[in-house]
């Protein structure tokens, strides 16, 4: 060490003085850029917030065939946060429904339907001990643009907390069963939902002007009017539900280590548990997610307990695919063909 430092000193002494000052300056710049600037950037961009995850729907399971005069309809979606709203008229009220394929049917916000007759009111207990109150009502008319429903049974629940989070009036949730008779094109990058009438085979009644070109096609299943698809993480095949009402992807914290070890954790919140334990909610990126042999990147996810959701759906689920999956392109769902296809070109208007 002594030898090398002496050699260094001699060689430096031979050099020009101004070169020495320059070296010093460069050292400081490296120091500032590596130590000071990164920490400031992080301080600005990351503000953990504990009040961030909410879960679960338990809904009526009916299917209603709406009346639509034309062969197809384009419904503009209003985006709020990463939620997508559909304007509707429900009996005498006009307002927004959240487009929510994670809900089974129609759910109405109790705040605005307190005067409606409650036809069933009971509490149900889930496998993990959670108790939820379920009450139903019926509405005479639900109109979404030219799409018209009559005599719909709907669940009633208090959705005030979603209004408060997003600052918009929410009349309810429009679940998957309400539109499952159509071929469904979800283009959240252009905030629009297209519905096409299909025949029994799943072919469009009017196939003219079909601009949708699938880059990927995969089978889908439904259970209790919820869409399920299989995707692979860390070599493990997992059961995901497709949920337009979820602002993020979710992975069950009960997933195997093989799955969880692949997730790059970027944040954590510790939530107060009801019992003797706290509950960890983890945020990260799924590095190793493939669907139909297609690798998906930038798949932000949270990791949390999904027991209550599995219980609500009556199916064991490993995860939820929400906004970060849906924004990869235009998603086409055709239950007649039991198929989900994706066109990855975000700029193409379908």
């Amino acid at each position: 060490m002594k030898f090398s430092s002496t050699k260094l000193s001699i060689s430096i002494m031979k050099a020009n003085k101004s070169l020495l000052y320059l070296t010093t300056l460069v050292c400081f710049i490296i120091f500032i850029s590596l130590v000071v600037i990164p920490s400031q950037t992080i301080a600005l961009n990351n503000k953990p917030n504990k009040e961030n995850i909410l879960i679960i729907r338990r809904l009526s399971n009916n299917y209603y065939e709406p009346v639509l005069q034309s062969d197809s309809i384009t419904i503009p979606l209003r985006r709020v946060g990463r939620l997508f709203l559909i304007e509707s008229r429900i009996d005498d009220q006009i307002g927004n429904l959240i487009f929510d394929t994670g809900a089974m049917g129609l759910v109405l916000n109790k705040i605005y339907f307190r005067n409606h007759l409650v036809i069933d009111d009971h509490s149900s207990s889930g496998v993990n001990g959670t108790i939820s109150s379920v009450s139903n009502t019926t509405i005479d008319n639900l109109n979404i643009s030219e799409l018209k429903y009559k005599n719909i049974r709907a669940d009633l629940t208090d959705l005030g907390h979603i209004e408060n989070k997003r600052g918009v009036k929410i009349l309810g949730l429009l679940g998957f069963s309400m539109i499952k008779g159509f071929e469904i094109l979800i283009d959240i990058n252009h905030s629009q939902l297209k519905l096409f009438k299909i025949d029994k085979k799943g072919d469009r009644v009017n196939a003219r002007d079909n601009k949708f070109r699938a880059d990927l096609m995969q089978p889908i299943e439904t259970a209790n009017n919820i869409l399920f698809l299989k995707a692979i993480i860390g070599g493990k095949k997992l059961n995901f539900c497709l949920d337009t009402g979820s602002e993020t992807n979710v992975i069950s914290s009960r997933s195997s280590n093989q799955v969880l070890n692949t997730i790059n954790i970027t944040r954590r919140s510790s939530l107060q548990g009801s019992g003797s334990q706290n509950s960890d909610v983890l945020y990260g990126n799924m590095n190793n997610f493939t669907f139909g042999n297609h690798p998906f990147t930038e798949m932000e996810t949270i990791i949390t307990n999904l027991d209550a959701l599995s219980d609500a759906y009556g199916v064991k689920i490993d995860g939820v695919l929400g906004y970060n999956f849906l924004n990869k392109g235009v998603i086409c769902i055709n239950l007649g063909k039991k198929q989900l296809s994706i066109c990855f070109a975000k700029s193409v208007k379908i």
Partner: protein, 483 residues
């Protein structure tokens, strides 16, 4: 002695650990999951700020981090059992078993909502603090605004089946404002007050920005919203037609000397502008020379002996104080002028004092200053806020709602509180008037939750059918203010 080389050598030695720490400080590499454990790789070389940042990101509080850095191999904190494992001289791993117990507040029919900070660009609501603006249309004839009626026109689009207008003026409704088809295009009229608005057209279900408008703002998802200003004032300068360039410069744009270029008219120069309600000073810059508005007699000294023109937009509110005829001066001060005690001198009247002042809609606190610095509340205003020496008079300018409670006539104190004032239980005191309690208020558009506090007892509004459950097991009343 080799002072320079010694200096550089010492500098290198000092920087090396920092360089090492900088290499180590990558928050994305701090946390991992390892067979049912959550593991945090921490570094002793991190500075206090970096440690704090990691604490925030991963919800590791300072007590926990202090224990970990002390080198305790195992400890229990707030029900969690933590282990610490040394890796090398600088780094160590802090770990615990992942707790995946069901979360207590999970309720049926909730949905997964992301953190707002991860959602950062989502908000497409209008910034209420926009003070001024000028339109920029490619063809000025396609948008008109007269007598508070805006006329939107889209030429062509003959193939379209329906076109709707949606914007911040109609709460972004997608189905309530259809445009009418005529021979040359689509048209709709909408009555809206002056202001800044964001909008889009919905052509056969597709969101489309206005191709005629050069002004736009990001809609937070890669697209854009068109921006327009419904103007409420035209600045005009007669003559000076020989000038090359005339700029409008005022307190509304920080006396910017190049931004607002006026255009030539048959009589001189003009620029139409939207200005938020309030009081402003301004001047024209004619080929580099500053000039107060020759058509405006109202001027104010700028403090350097120069006169600026004064313009008030909106209706003036008249503050009045009876009596105090023996005072030489009476001043008005409030949160609208930074409580400056010498700025707003009131005029003497036969019965007392008065001052007209233009304020934008909102809630304002004020006091009068009489008899050489004696601050008093307005004796004729029943509405006040605070208590004791900290009581101020309270006025709602252009209130858009009045809270009314018809019951509890025998109560001593009734207060209204809610999300609009951070649930402050001692701010908005209601006034008993003709058999009911009242409180006029100006609230921004959107949802507000509130309660009344009747002699310290919290109740929901018995006359409002809209209410929701809250976090403490009771209910809050709901009020929606339309834009």
């Amino acid at each position: 002695m080799r002072p320079i080389t010694n200096y550089i050598f010492i500098l290198f030695c000092l920087l090396l650990p920092y360089y090492g720490a900088a290499q180590q400080f990558d928050p994305k590499k701090v946390c991992r999951l390892d067979n049912g454990n959550i593991v945090f790789k921490l570094d002793k070389r991190w500075n206090a700020k970096q440690k704090k940042e990691i604490g925030k990101l991963f919800d590791l509080d300072s007590t926990l981090l202090a224990k970990a850095y002390q080198g305790n191999s195992e400890f229990t904190l707030q029900k969690d059992k933590w282990s610490v494992k040394k890796i090398d001289q600088y780094t160590f791993e802090l770990s615990k078993v992942i707790n995946s117990a069901p979360v207590s507040h999970v309720k049926a029919n909730d949905i997964f909502i992301m953190d707002d900070f991860l959602n950062n660009n989502y908000n497409i609501t209008l910034k209420e603090n926009t003070i001024y603006g000028v339109n920029s249309f490619k063809d000025v004839s396609l948008f008109q605004y007269r007598n508070h009626v805006a006329r939107f026109f889209i030429p062509g689009q003959k193939q379209a089946r329906s076109i709707y207008l949606s914007g911040s003026f109609n709460n972004w409704t997608t189905a309530q404002l259809p445009m009418q088809k005529n021979d040359s295009g689509w048209v709709v009229n909408i009555k809206i007050p002056p202001g800044k608005y964001l909008y889009k057209y919905i052509i056969d279900g597709r969101w489309t920005e206005d191709p005629n408008n050069n002004l736009y703002e990001s809609d937070g998802r890669g697209g854009r919203n068109s921006v327009l200003y419904c103007i409420n004032h035209i600045f005009q300068l007669p003559e000076y037609r020989h000038a090359h360039k005339v700029i409008l410069s005022g307190s509304f744009n920080g006396f910017n000397q190049s931004e607002l270029k006026m255009y030539r008219t048959t009589k001189g120069w003009a620029i139409p502008l939207y200005l938020k309600e309030g009081t402003y000073t301004y001047k024209f810059i004619i080929d580099g020379n500053w000039l107060a508005d020759p058509t405006n007699k109202l001027t104010r000294n700028d403090g350097n002996g120069h006169l600026n023109s004064i313009l008030g937009i909106g209706e003036a509110y008249t503050f009045q104080l009876k009596g105090y005829n023996d005072s030489k001066h009476v001043y008005l001060a409030g949160n609208f002028n930074g409580w400056n005690p010498k700025e707003l001198e009131m005029e003497k009247t036969p019965t007392g004092w008065k001052l007209s002042y233009i304020l934008a809609p909102g809630m304002y606190e004020y006091k009068f200053i009489v008899k050489e610095g004696h601050w008093i509340v307005d004796p004729d205003n029943p509405y006040s806020t605070g208590s004791g020496n900290f009581t101020n008079s309270l006025v709602a300018i252009k209130p858009n709602h009045t809270f009314v409670l018809k019951q509890y006539q025998n109560a001593g104190i009734v207060i209204v509180t809610g999300s609009f004032n951070n649930w402050n239980p001692n701010e908005y005191w209601m006034n008993r008037n003709k058999g009911k309690w009242e409180f006029p208020i100006y609230l921004p558009a959107g949802k507000h939750t509130y309660k009344f506090v009747v002699d310290k007892k919290w109740i929901i509004d018995p006359n409002n059918k809209l209410f929701e459950s809250n976090d403490v097991g009771s209910f809050n009343s709901i009020l929606w203010i339309e834009p």
